[in-house]
Amino acid sequence: METFKINEKNHMIKYDMKMNKGGLRLLKKVLCMCMVLVLILGTLSGCGSKVENPGNERANNEKENTQKAEIVKDEIKVALESDIVSLDPQGHNDTASEKVSFLLFNRLFKLNTEFEAVPDLVEEWSQPSDKEWLLKIKEGVKFHDGTEITSEDVKFSMERSKESPTVQHVLAEVEKVEIVDKYTVKVTTKVVFAPFLYTLAHAGVSIVPKHYVESDDNWKMPVGSGQYKFVEWVSGDKVVLGKYDEYYDEADRGMAKKITFKVIPEGTSRTIALETGEVDIIASLESMDSAKVEENPELSLYEKPSTSIAYVGMNVEKAPFDNVLVRRAMNYAIDKEAILEISLNGAGTVAKSVTSTAIMGQKDGDYIYDPEKAKELLKEAGYDGNLTIDLWASGDLRKRTAEVVQANLMEVGVTANIEMFEWGAYLEATNSGKQSMFVLGWTSNPDPDATLTPQFSKGSIRAQNRTRYVSEKVEQLLADGRVELDLAKRKAIYNELHATVMEDAPWVPLYVSNKLVGANSQLKGVELNPQGLANLHKLHY
């Protein structure tokens, strides 16, 4: 017994001594190990970049070989930033779903890369009166299941579009659709409506087969008439389409046998997938990755000004922005170049009016960055370095924008207090009437009316008109623009509208972002329109 105790004591003593020395030793060891780890991590990452090069060279050689042997890659993989919402073209209103819809379905008109509405299914059209449109579709165009497209399907699709909660706004001006003969429909609009042909190019007015929609399939295996047929949709992962060999327009058939849309929500992961060759093209490249793509000899960067404009809005009902001098001062005080650089790494153009230049009738305003002029205007309005305002924003990009605005305003003696909101709350708050100055954006549909009416008409206060700007002159110009069927006259009307709005200055337009697409440099047929990647059926190696 005795010996046992002693043994245990000895043991304990040893243990304690170990502990005491151990404290110091432990610290040293931990330090050493941290350094070793840093070294290991360092070499690992070094390895990464070193290994990358031979890998790429190998890929390069392989590609060169394949080029020599002229092997055609049959499948094009396109990276999308989000999953599609629906296969039903009248059940979604987002750009990812549109890309798939445009391949699966035809519309009566489509947009070309210059953003003009050109005929798709329509053979010829005429206007018996200002409110009536006769549309004759091409004969012999077949859906993927072999049935012919007739005026029945056109009438059905347009009426269905008007009923759908997601896209009902597109054909809101259409009063009725009547069948004239097997291939002709007559559409009557509620008012004289100049943007009509543009509305027909919207994905929500895709022509869907009546017999399919009325079947029990419920969009599991959609039938369209486009260059590609539906194969598979794995929710959250991918959408697979296969080439439709009997597409009606032989000159415009799909090039690749298969197009697979891969959903890659994270921007950096998308770029890496392009670098590793897992995808052939990225539909929306992050602006911070554009340099990386440009420098890589295996990849190509494509850029095109979009229709998305960023702006600083001012509530014209609320002091100090009820004073037009203050609003004009803001237009002189804010350095748009700096904001473009900080927000988008320069991937865009400075906005000089309230829409992108891609939209018909856009006309540049006169404002330039001139803090002195801004100070003068503020002084004239009765504010001399003693103005404090609220500046609202939501999300990281708009926060950065707001910070530049804040710094700019500081220079002209205006203190801006930035307040951040969650997106849903922001949309509600900027409509509450309490908004003062806020950073926001707008993506235009092709027709100018679809942007200018919601933004600057009296009727959309508490909806999209967040600046609450009302002007009788603008109301009149909006009304005139909607009904003017002569293109040159219509353009002149919108020119005047832009000039008026810029003079009244409810907005400080900031920049129009570029649509960025990154692709394998061997990929051919890459086309962009102001809405981004377009005509995907032309993609091929």
């Binding site: 170990k18 432990l26 989000s82 706004h169 992962d237 909806a463």
Partner: protein, 308 residues
Amino acid sequence: MIRYVIKRLLMLIPVVVGVTFLVFFIISLTPGDVAAMIIGEGATQESIQQLRTDMGLDDPIIVQYGRYMGNLVTGDMGNSYATGKAVSAEIGSRFPNTFKLTVLSILISIGISIPIGVVSATKQYSIFDNLGMVLALIGISMPSFWLGLILIIIFALGLGWFPSGGADSFKSVILPAITLGVASTASITRTTRSSMLEVVRQDYIRTAKAKGVSNRVVIRKHALKNALIPAITVIGLEFGVLLGGAILTETVFSWPGIGRLMVESIQRKDAPMVLGCIIIFSVCFSIVNLVIDILYAYIDPRIKANYE
């Protein structure tokens, strides 16, 4: 034992009722109009109002909740506001992916953490112990988003061993599973280590050693089995954390799982989908905990005796 299991399964009912009740009301409190979000920009006030009426959004919340629960009893989780697809079908297609990822990552983390924990404890204050604990510390403090990207850069971009994302083959699950497993590895290692340390000082271990049993057998048969109970508790909790915490990992690796589905649905204010995901999470979490409780019984006869 079976009675106990049935009792525990019945306990799921109040859990689901409580969780759905909370979530339903929290979602209804968040700002933003669902109808306006569905229709999107360019909608008229009348059409928004029409949709609100059609969707029953004008009814009092309690009525909407009652309606939802009524349908839930018949197994109908409703249709997604955003896509119009049946919530149960959507979850059905996504859940197996999350489950696969979670199970693999918990296996990876058990495979790493239990041996490290045991070695750390048996060779306390040795270089192994210190190294193990430093690794555990790094693991627990490394953001999964960052680790995921680093793994992609090294193993997908640099070495080309694994795909950088997607769910096309078995290879695609490896990197996300490692990313996800690393954080839980840390806490399981630490728990295993501390409970092993406690057990190896017990009398029966000394007795076993005194009987001349080899060190390896003492550790494996006598010590580890007893030390595993706290470790298993942590594993159960970590499983739940992994199920829900996979969101970032799923995003980095474009993994079509339920975590991403839930976040996307929250952003779209897609209440039926959010509720569906949360119900699935809470049911899974409860079932995992039940399995853990049953595992206790197999590991520890004393606990088994309590059930009978």
